[in-house]
Amino acid sequence: MKRTPTLAVWKFASCDGCQLSLLDCEAELLAVTERLTIANFVEASREVLKGPYDLSLVEGSITTAHDAERIHKIRRISKTLITIGACATAGGIQALRNFKDVKEFVSIVYSTPAYIETLSKSTPIANHVYVDFELHGCPINKNQLLEVVNAYLNGRKPNIPAYSVCVECKRRGIVCGLVAAGPPCLGPVTHAGCDALCPSYHRGCFGCYGPKETPNTGSLTSWWKQSGMKDDELLRLFRNFNAYADAFRKESESHEK
């Protein structure tokens, strides 16, 4: 009998939401475990099988010296390594420290800063090791996660489009908020994946899936400036869960005084 590939799920600085997405595949979870052996998934099981592992899913960003070492060990024992979520692909919301002095942050939260070990920057996994595929989103879309796992099992490329949220919005026939003078919407520069969720709830996109391929953020913000938006508002708009993704970082920095 052919051996089923082994799966390992790893966590770095994060909220646990993206690995929870795997358990949230309620209807498909047991089917997935028939094709993959869960070898190392601490949130779900006490049992840890020895590596190396065929597929590693990595959640979270690198924020401590210990974790910067640990990710290299994980890469060495993983045949395929896929990062899941905004923390692992862009540094996450905790990358807001990258724009400030982290020492000040430590002292705001903790009374004895000497107990806290942290790096000055929160960085994505790909800054440290080679990553086979990055799945974006804060949180990831569980259907896309199933697609990535399915693609892996069948030895093909995942079908995860890199176009913008606008494409999804048009396909759903939602009235464009930017055209209809609705709230500011990051849809034109944001990676698809949520199926235009916020526009369908009458709110502007706030960039959970990070920059799309070739985003023109400068053009978007110059239109907003003409309609009266201030630099501090624009800065906050680009500084969320994907603040340290290149295109969003550069755009927010251009609005910093």
């Binding site: 979870l29 099981s45 006490r46 942050f105």
Partner: protein, 432 residues
């Protein structure tokens, strides 16, 4: 007598990264620690300078398991600062959203994280081979909880439809009505869950805890979710705004989560057991009867039985969701208008794991000047360590493997969420 050390470097079936450490000397436990090595993420620091409207979306990212709790505490604290009240059907919809999260989170813990301990399995997937129908029932209930959060909140993890003042978009009566059939099934499944959990074997472990939970005014006698006074089993009865006067956070070396204590008395206990013991009279009589039939006759002071209480609360959440859906009439507007203003706001709501406190100071433009967030797991940390000490002392006759597993189970009684508390768990048993 032999000296021993029990160590679990990375606790399983909890949310986040923690470890467990236990040291015994001459038959006494000399050290019991729940170490939290989850890296700090500094939410309270980077909330400074953000707009009041952004707090629900940013704080949701503290926890992927209970984002609704963060959103609820954030919006209530902001509304408190702005001097507005959200009532009527909007209030009910928030309660419905919370019912969804309670169901999803409690069922995840009961079936996937905690039951394998009682039934002797490493995890629910292996448990599914022996008890396929039980695991499938759990997964279907969890799916229903997520379906409620998805409909009202937009998606199950980090919902997008919650805002200060209410919602962005209201569901229609028909959309909510579509949940009724599955909810009715889940209500019956919750009754079967109570029977299942009551049939498990529990270690004798009754302790003298100070339970802390919200309690609503007598004018609105309901099981607490989004509002109420903070009360305890040892006489505390304060408004949410008085929280800082009575509770203190301490920074200890082995944890990236701050430890909370009641200033006058020390450790305390939050979560389903505390809510149930302090608000049992607020449960509908049929649910109280179901709890009684499951052996919960008086106050429950054995944390291992929290799994039964989670099942009782799951039943309550299903009944409450059905009631809200039945009585729902879409309000005229999805949200109450908000205008920024300077001030301080306090919010405390019942997350699945216990009370979650938020405090924000705003300037006149509604920009956050200061934020404080106290999650349930950091409030339970001291109590978890006390439990480990007391439990291990009574069970030193067990071999290392059994003692380690049961100590892990004692930690899992609290459904600790380490991602939350750091702003988890590893067992270490050391021989001196």
């Amino acid at each position: 007598m032999k000296n021993r050390t029990i160590k679990v470097d990375y606790l399983a079936r909890v949310e986040g990264e923690g470890s467990l450490y236990l040291k015994t000397k001459n038959g006494a436990v000399v050290d019991a620690k729940l170490k939290i090595f989850e890296p700090p993420r500094f939410f309270e620091a980077f909330l400074r300078g953000r707009a009041f409207t952004e707090a629900p979306d940013i704080t949701a990212r503290i926890c992927g398991i209970c984002p609704v709790a963060y959103q609820m505490s954030a919006v209530h604290a902001m509304e408190n600062a702005l001097g507005i009240t959200v009532d009527g059907q909007l209030r009910s919809l928030r309660r419905l959203l919370y019912c969804g999260e309670w169901i999803e989170s409690h069922v995840l813990h009961i079936y996937l994280l905690h039951a394998p301990d009682f039934l002797g399995h490493q995890d629910a997937i292996r448990m599914a081979k022996e008890f396929p129908d039980v695991v499938k029932r759990g997964l279907r209930m969890k799916k229903l909880g997520n379906a409620i959060v998805t409909l009202v909140g937009g998606r199950e993890i980090h919902p997008i439809n919650v805002k200060v003042g209410g919602f962005y978009k209201l569901p229609s009566r028909a959309e909510l009505g579509a949940l009724t059939e599955e909810l009715t099934w889940a209500r019956d499944a919750a009754r079967e869950t109570i029977t299942l959990t009551a049939s498990l074997t529990f270690p004798e472990f009754d302790q003298d805890y100070e339970f802390v939970a919200l309690r609503t005014d007598d004018a609105r006698p309901e099981y607490p979710m989004n509002e109420g006074r903070i009360v305890s089993s040892k006489g505390l009865n304060i408004s949410v705004a008085q929280y800082d006067q009575h509770f203190a956070e301490e920074h200890v070396e082995h944890s990236n989560a701050l430890h909370s204590a009641i200033k006058e008395r020390g450790s305390y206990f939050v979560g389903p057991l505390a809510r149930f013991n302090l608000n049992r009279d607020r449960l509908p009589s049929a649910i109280d009867k179901a709890a009684r039939a499951a052996g919960l006759t008086g106050k429950c002071t054995n944390p291992f039985k929290s799994i039964i209480v989670r099942a009782v609360e799951t039943l309550y959440a299903c009944e409450e969701a059905l009631r809200i859906i039945r009585e729902y009439e879409p309000p005229a507007k999805p949200a109450v208008a908000t205008e920024p203003k300077a001030g301080t706001g306090y919010g405390c709501t019942e997350a699945p794991r216990g009370i979650l406190y938020h405090r924000y100071m705003l300037d006149a433009k509604g920009i956050i000047l200061d934020a404080k967030i106290v999650p349930p797991t950091s409030q339970n940390q001291k109590t978890i360590e006390n439990d480990l000490r007391h439990f291990a002392e009574k069970h030193l006759h067990l071999n290392d493997e059994q003692l380690t597993w049961q100590c892990e189970q004692a930690v899992r009684n609290y459904d600790p969420c380490i991602s939350c508390a750091t702003h988890f768990l590893t067992l270490t048993r050391e021989q001196v």
